[in-house]
């Protein structure tokens, strides 16, 4: 368990570089330290539809953060309607998939990609969310918040529409 204030310091240190990146791309990043939460509204280039990317950093970096697309009110983790639809993957396999437990951003740096949190990757596969810094070396690698956002946005820009109906 990482003390809340320690996590705040870690995240805010990483956000220095991250905010320069979001500024360059005119993305309005919000950091809510009391909730250890990062919110980034995104506009899908091909449709101009709004999506709501959320990262939760409890126990960061002992375990991977939680990344998901939220409903527009930031009240819950989103369903298929809140996830973008991959049309044609540009970098290997797509990272936005429909898993057995629902839609997931399926990358080593997402806690929700691990079976312990409802994702498809078992302990024998990626070693669990505490192994995230070493997991899946042949998959996309991102070990800071800025790297994670850059990777997610890279694939988001090649999506079109939504993964499912409302």
């Amino acid at each position: 368990m990482i003390p809340h204030q320690d996590t705040v310091l870690i995240v805010e240190d990483e956000l220095r570089g991250t905010r320069r990146w979001t500024d360059r791309h005119r993305l309005p990043l919000a950091w809510l330290p009391a909730r250890l939460e990062v919110r980034v509204p995104l506009k899908q280039p091909s449709t101009n539809d709004a999506f709501f990317l959320r990262g939760i950093f409890s126990d960061y970096k002992a375990i991977a953060p939680v990344w998901t697309f939220s409903d527009p009110k930031w009240e819950s983790n989103g369903g298929a309607f809140n996830f973008p639809q991959v049309t044609r993957p540009h970098h290997g396999s797509p990272m936005f998939i429909m898993g057995g437990g629902g839609p997931v951003i399926c990358v080593p740096f997402n806690r929700l990609a691990y079976a312990a949190h409802g994702g498809p990757h078992s302990v024998t596969d990626w070693g669990g969310p505490s192994n995230w810094l070493n997991a899946g070396p042949s998959y996309v690698q991102a070990v800071t918040i800025g790297d994670m956002l850059t990777a997610i946005y890279r694939d988001f820009c090649h999506t079109h529409g939504r993964m499912g109906p409302q």
Binding site: G17, P94, M95, V140, T144, R154
Partner: protein
């Protein structure tokens, strides 16, 4: 008087950003340098280890450069601004 050497004409200086750092770094590469090679050098300078580093433009949406092409083939010119991005896939 022409003072530009042939070598200088073959080189470009670009500014590379990393989402890890608020500050950019400058790199001078031959135009024929492969994107992957340039990306590896830039990533190392910013402290990246492992992964499959690549480069993308700073425009929005960004254009990820083809790691197998040269900088000139990807239309990178003197003064271009680029960002580091990992090129690995998900799932």
């Amino acid at each position: 008087m022409e003072t530009t050497t042939v070598q200088e004409k073959q080189e470009i200086t670009v500014k590379v950003f990393s989402p890890r750092s608020p500050d950019a770094k400058s790199f001078t590469w031959r135009k024929t340098t492969k994107v992957a090679e340039a990306a590896r050098e830039a990533a190392k300078a910013f402290g990246y280890q492992g992964g499959a580093p690549g480069l993308q433009t700073t425009e929005d949406p960004p254009r990820v450069l083809d790691n197998n092409k040269t900088l000139v083939a990807e239309h990178i010119v003197d003064g271009s601004e680029l960002e580091i991005v990992d090129t690995g896939g998900g799932v």
